[in-house]
Amino acid sequence: MITVTDLTRTFQSGDSTVTAVDNVSLTVPDGRFASIIGKSGSGKSTLLSLLGALDTPTSGSIEIAGRDITRLSEHALITYRRKQIGFVFQGYNLIPNLTALENVMLPMSFNGVRGNERKIRAAALLDQVGIEGVKQQRKPGRLSGGEQQRVAIARALANRPSLILADEPTGNLDSETGKMIFDLLHNLARSQKTTIIVVTHDLSIAGRTDESFRLQDGKLVTL
């Protein structure tokens, strides 16, 4: 269960203060596929980075599995991200000089998984997302956008996280590939009981998730 209570994040922009996330409270039960929709600049990505412990809120709390992650130390946050969170980014954000397989192995190496086990598991994850055979040995530059996003999803799954946060995962993809990626995430949520929160501005995607939240000027508004 993810419980967000009165979450606020403000940024200093010159002399003025910008409130990117404004007093947001929401709850997502375990294993659910939720979406956060909103226009560009509505604070979606900021909310996602707060949930993923990439950023710390100005005020409020985020309880995940009963633990308030806003109170964790820097070191504990790194461990939390490594073990509990998988990220999928709009721009894929794969490491360009590593192969697809190595990109998936990378978070496992941060988590202390042994070499051979890393390799076997990474290959299995890539198979699962549909990157098979020689494509696993390709570097991101030689994969299509859809393929790169699959690799990114496999990477997000590498350390068996309890929460996957996806920031516009289909934003750079054509609608057909976008749908495939969406289905992939959806299936994962079902099959692996992983909570998935997707940030998107695509209302058609939002309509097919278990839960949907809309952000407007940093505030949560009812759909």
Binding site: L48, S49, L54, I78, G115, D167, G171
Partner: protein, 476 residues
């Protein structure tokens, strides 16, 4: 396929081939320069130690203002030197007197050297001959002209309390027996060349100062100066020249190198203005003075090259970190700790610098000796004149000028010549430095690379630590 932090860093180092190769060359030059300077520094420092260790613990005492160009001197006396013998830490005192003899029947119209006015003669002919055949300035004769057909160089005669040595080197007798330097006897040692020229053997006699002297022994000589020298006991020469008790040169040996300075100043105090007192250490100091400059220059250059290398890698790593800001954010977002990411980049920096070090070692090995010699030769002129200045001016005589334009003909076989020759040999050996290039160069090269990498990546590490992972979420 390893995937740990170190291999990631290593692979990243070769991510941009053009940049990596450029950096290898630039760092290679920088590290090469470090090594060249290190090699030079070591070679010069070793040389300084060698020279200081080899100068020995002798002090040369000469009558004040004494030189080949000046005949107006008050000789030192045996009595004065007896006072020196009793000084603390004096191990021994070797006294000597020198003179020059004209060959009977030969033309010797040139006022050679200090003894140029000497009317003393000998039946001996000098085995040393001058080559005036070329007429190309090998001989400088005042007023021009050529040497007379019956010209013969004067014969040097050395009266010494230590006939077993000449110029501080032990004499080797090829036949006959050693002399007693303290006993006034009409006996002499001649060189093999002198014996050959004058058909002498042990027991033969020759005339000097209108006195018959007997050849007691024949020694082998390695120098032309030695060839043309006759050695007699000091009291004998004092008697023959009518200079009772006179000494024109003394070599005092201190009991240890540590006491050299003290003994030197004690002698100066004892003899006052009567004598010029010079320790071997003085000559060595003037010689190593310029070498010490070289050592300092090479040390400063080493530090400069290290700093330059560090700045190059620092700027490169800052550039790399800036352009991979997003990637660093990703690494942190997917669970990489600051320490791991910093370590990965440091490993990249070390890989780049080690690659540069390989180039640098090649440069160091190739350039070590030439640069060392270049630096040392650059300092040569000052040190040569300094060292030569410690001894007596060379040249056979004031009137005729210098044969061979300088020091090619050693003037006199006195121990006073020791300093000059020794000074020059110190200077020459000081400039003849061979840098020792071995495995240590490789180790130093790698060490320099690691030091450069660590210093250079420190700022990058700080920048990496400051990058917030949420930056990866922005500016897609």
């Amino acid at each position: 396929m390893g995937m740990n932090t170190l291999t990631l860093g290593l692979r990243n180092a070769f991510r941009n081939t053009v940049r990596t190769v450029s950096l290898m060359i630039i760092l290679g030059i920088s590290i090469g320069l470090c090594l060249v300077m290190l090699i030079a520094h070591q070679a010069v420092a070793q040389k300084i130690r060698d020279i200081k260790a080899s100068v020995g613990n002798t002090i040369t005492v000469m009558p004040a203002g004494f030189s080949d160009f000046s005949q107006a001197n008050n000789a030192l006396t045996t009595a004065q030197l007896d006072g020196v013998k009793t000084l603390p830490h004096v191990a021994s005192v070797t006294e000597s007197l020198t003179d020059r003899l004209s060959t009977i029947g030969a033309t010797d119209s040139f006022p050679f050297g200090r003894g140029g006015s000497s009317t003393a003669t000998t039946s001996l002919k000098s085995p040393v001959t001058l080559d005036d055949s070329g007429k190309t300035g090998r001989l400088f004769i005042r007023g021009g002209g050529q040497l007379p057909a019956d010209f013969s160089l004067p014969v040097s005669i050395l009266g010494t309390t230590d006939p077993a040595h000449m110029d501080s080197a032990a004499l080797t007798l090829s036949s006959g027996a050693a002399l007693d330097g303290a006993k006034d006897s009409n006996t002499a040692l001649v060189s093999t060349a002198m014996a050959g020229k004058n058909n002498l053997k042990v027991g033969s006699t020759f005339t000097a100062y209108n006195t018959k002297l007997t050849v007691a022994g024949i020694f082998t000589s390695a120098s032309r100066a030695g060839d043309g020298t006759v050695i007699v006991p000091l009291p004998a020469l004092q008697r023959l020249t009518g200079q009772s008790g006179a000494v024109d040169n003394a070599v005092v040996t201190a009991d240890s190198l540590d006491n050299l300075a003290n003994v030197t100043s004690a002698i100066k105090q004892k003899l006052g203005s009567n004598a010029d007192v010079t320790s071997a250490q003085d000559a060595a100091d003037s010689t190593v003075g310029s070498l010490e400059n070289v050592a300092t220059i090479s040390l400063l250059s080493l530090i400069g090259a290290l700093i330059a290398g560090s700045v190059i890698i620092l700027l490169t790593m800052v550039m790399i970190v800036r352009e991979r800001r997003r990637e660093i954010g990703i690494l942190k977002a997917i669970g990489g700790s600051n320490a791991r990411v910093v370590l990965q980049f440091m490993c990249e920096a070390v890989t780049l610098t080690v690659a540069g070090a390989v180039v640098g070692v090649l440069i160091g090995v190739a350039g070590g000796n030439p640069v060392t010699n270049m630096l040392v030769q650059g300092a040569a002129s000052s040190s040569t004149s300094a060292a030569a200045g410690m001894g007596r001016p060379a040249g056979i005589g004031a009137g005729i000028g210098r044969f061979g334009g300088g020091q090619s003909f050693a003037a006199r076989p006195t121990t006073g010549g020791f300093l000059q020759r020794n000074g020059n040999s110190l200077a020459n050996s000081a400039h003849n430095i061979s840098a020792n290039i071995g495995w240590n160069v490789l180790i130093y090269g790698l060490g320099a690379a690691v030091v450069i990498a660590l210093i250079g990546s420190a700022l990058a590490g700080w920048m990496i630590a400051r990058i917030k992972p949420y930056e990866v979420m922005r500016a897609e």
